[in-house]
Each structure stands twice: as C-alpha cells, then as structure tokens.
Symmetry: C2
Subunit: 200 residues, 2 copies
DNA sequence: TAATCATTTGACTAATCAGTCAAGAATTGT
DNA sequence: ACAATTCTTGACTGATTAGTCAAATGATTA
C-alpha cells in the first residue's frame, strides 16, 4: 500500500477554504501548500493542476455537506418546512463564516463559478453541477408540496426562482458585506411560494 | 497643456471589457496595455495601481451607461413600464455580450464585486456603490408606482428584491452559460410586483 | 530481511506578475 | 524660438507564478 498520507485531504480542505474566503485567482498553489503544510511536489503528486484541485476540493466539500442537506430536506418533514429550514441553514452558515473571517463570503459555488465561468469550462461545468444538485432538493420539496396541493407553482420553475433569489441575496450581501441582507431570504422565498399558494 | 493623449481612455475601455469578460485576477496589466496599445510606463503615468485602474474603469463605464438608464427610467413613462423596459434592456445587453464573446458574462459589477469583495475593500465599496446606484432607479420607479396606488409593496424593500432577483438570475445564467435563463427575469420581477399589486 | 510502492523533499525552471525609472518626444503658452 | 508641461518609451527589478523532477523516505507485504 506504500506510504500512508493525509496530504490529499488536507489540500482539499485548505483549498476550499481559501478559495471561498478569497478567490481562485488570488490563492496560489504555494499558499495552499504552505497552509496545508504540504510540499509542492506532494501537491503535484496528488493533483495534475491547480484547477483540478479546485474541482476536487469542491466535490469533496459537497460530499461532506450532503448529509446535512439530506437531513434538511428529509421527506419526513412537511415540504414547505424543508424550504424554511433550508433558508435558515443558509443564513446561519453565512453568519458562522462571516464571524470566522470578518466578511460575508457568499455562496462558494457562485464565487468560484462566476470568477471562472468564462475562463475554465471544466470549472464552470462543476459549478453548474453543484448548483443543480442543490436545486434538486428545492425542486423535490416543491413537487411534494404540489402533490399535497399546497401550491400551484410549477416545481421546476419555482425551484429556479427560489434558488436564484438565494444566489442573488447572497451576492448582494457579499458585495455590501452585510449579513442583514439575508434576513430577506426567508420572506422572499416564502412570497414566491405564497404567491402561488392555493387558497383553501 | 502638454502632450495630448487618449491612452487613459483606451485603458479604461479595454480594462472594463477584459475584466468583465474574463476576471480581475486573470487579466494582467501587461494584457491590458497590449490590447490598448499603450506602454506600461504610460499605464503607471495615469494610474497608481491595477486596482485603481479597475475602479476608474468601472466608474467610467457607469458614466457612459447612465444616459441609457436615465432614458429607461424616465419619469415620462408609467413606472411599471420603466421596470419592464429595464428587464428587457438587461436581457438584451446580455444577448449582445454573449454573441460577441461566446459566453454569458453576467453582471459586471457583481463579477468584479464578488471576486474581490473579501480582498480589496476599495473595490468592494465601488461595486456596492454601483449596485446601489442601479437600485435607486428601481426604487424610484416603485415609489412612483406606489404614489399612483398601483402597488402596495414598500419601494425600498421591493427594489432590493427585484434587484437581487436580477443579480441571481444573471449569476445563474453565467454559471449555466445559458441565455434562456434570463427569459425568467421579467416574469419573476413582475410577480414580485404583482404579488403586491392593488386589486382595483 | 528484502522488495515494492506511495509519498516526501526541496531545489529547480521558465514564464509572468505588478510596479519603477530616466531619458526623450510632442504639445502649448510666451 | 524657448520654456514648461504632459505623455511616451522600453528596459529594468524583484517577487511570484504554475509546474517539474530525481533522489530520499517510510510503510507494507512477501
């Protein structure tokens, strides 16, 4: 089995953190290596390039966060409660991050995605994939709500609107470096749903 | 008056274009100079640093685009028509840009802002300023609509929601590199307003 | 114990980065 | 024509960039 190592995992963790809190362009391979206490040679032993690391780091982050999303969007919960829970989760996560780093960090997929969408097709595709995976949770909750005749909105279109609203508010909050912006997330999302609520 | 020159203007123009279509981090001072056919020494004759150029370039772009926004949001027009016109303008502009560069470019303020918000406070503040200037148009239109008793939504909160929706959809469209996403802009915005429309 | 294999080490390249500078060129006002 | 002012030129610095490599190390297995 050769020599055991946790360098790969450390690199993935550090890379995701640095890229989210700063940006892809301003974080160098040397920075990542230094922070992870890994030599450059080891870096390139595990990853063919910086952009491959970024992709792997984001995929790994998804892998770690997925159980939490599964919990939030558990079919055990009433569908609209899932979405409410998700809004709170998004806000809470931003609060934690902002407290840790001193500024609002926004959506990690959006940050990497928007920085490199026009430059690196593989990274754009990965960002899209991650966004779409998130979207699917919302869509599924809306579909369940529809089945229970709670709403009339088309689940796919509704999910896209809700997710775009979240992306937009996170972006707005990051640019204004102001967490209070996110207080609007839950009401805005609920209004999107509510506008199409079936009056009993 | 010394030697006349349009180097400054060329640099502003080229910088805005390159940063919007690529990213701040991936566009070097050398690239900008080469594209503008200006020597590096001239660059630093006009601008103290790369980030100062970026700020000046974005400010200059605003200066050029402002008349068009003034036209779109002319008080001569019915307030909700202004917003409708603005939605169409945003979509049209993205179509033009995408045709020109082969990919959806998204909102330039959001792109620069989200890339550097956590890194460069002056750039973050400028992005915020530009976003807020745009917001003011929407807010003013909503205020006029309120005065005419067309809507009940609070203008400031409504404008924030509408603008966030636009930011979110532009971001979503950029990450998916898909212009069709923007077809949702006008209906989504109108639903935000419509949900608070006063029934005659 | 010896062979095997994955990982580590750190020095190395060649390109690129933002930014500097001193000397020269072009314009205007006198 | 001359001085003052503004802009241009292009070579230069020193730091940083992504990526390479051959030799060394250490754990596992036979």
């Amino acid at each position: 089995m050769g020599r055991p190592s946790d360098a790969r995992e450390k690199l993935l963790q550090v890379a995701f953190d640095l890229i989210w809190n700063q940006s892809y362009g301003s974080v160098s391979v040397d920075h990542i290596c230094a922070r992870a206490r890994v030599n450059k040679g080891s870096f390139y032993h595990f990853f063919p390039s910086k952009s491959d690391l970024a992709i792997a780091a984001y995929e790994e982050h998804w892998r770690e966060k997925q159980p939490e999303l599964d919990r939030i969007f558990s079919p055990q919960l009433p569908p609209l409660e899932r979405i409410e829970l998700w809004c709170k989760y998004v806000c809470e996560r931003q609060k934690r991050k902002a407290a840790q780093y001193g500024h609002v960090c926004g959506c990690p997929y959006a940050s990497l995605g928007t920085e490199l969408a026009t430059q690196d097709e593989k990274i754009r595709a990965k960002a899209q994939e991650l966004v779409d995976r998130n979207l699917r949770y919302v869509e599924s909750a809306l579909r369940d709500a529809q089945r229970e005749e709670l709403i009339s909105i088309e689940p796919q279109a509704g999910a896209k609107r809700i997710y775009s609203t979240a992306l937009g508010l996170l972006l707005y909050a990051k640019i204004h470096n102001n967490l209070k912006v996110l207080d609007e997330l839950e009401p805005a999302v609920m209004d999107i749903i509510g506008a199409h609520a079936l009056s009993a």
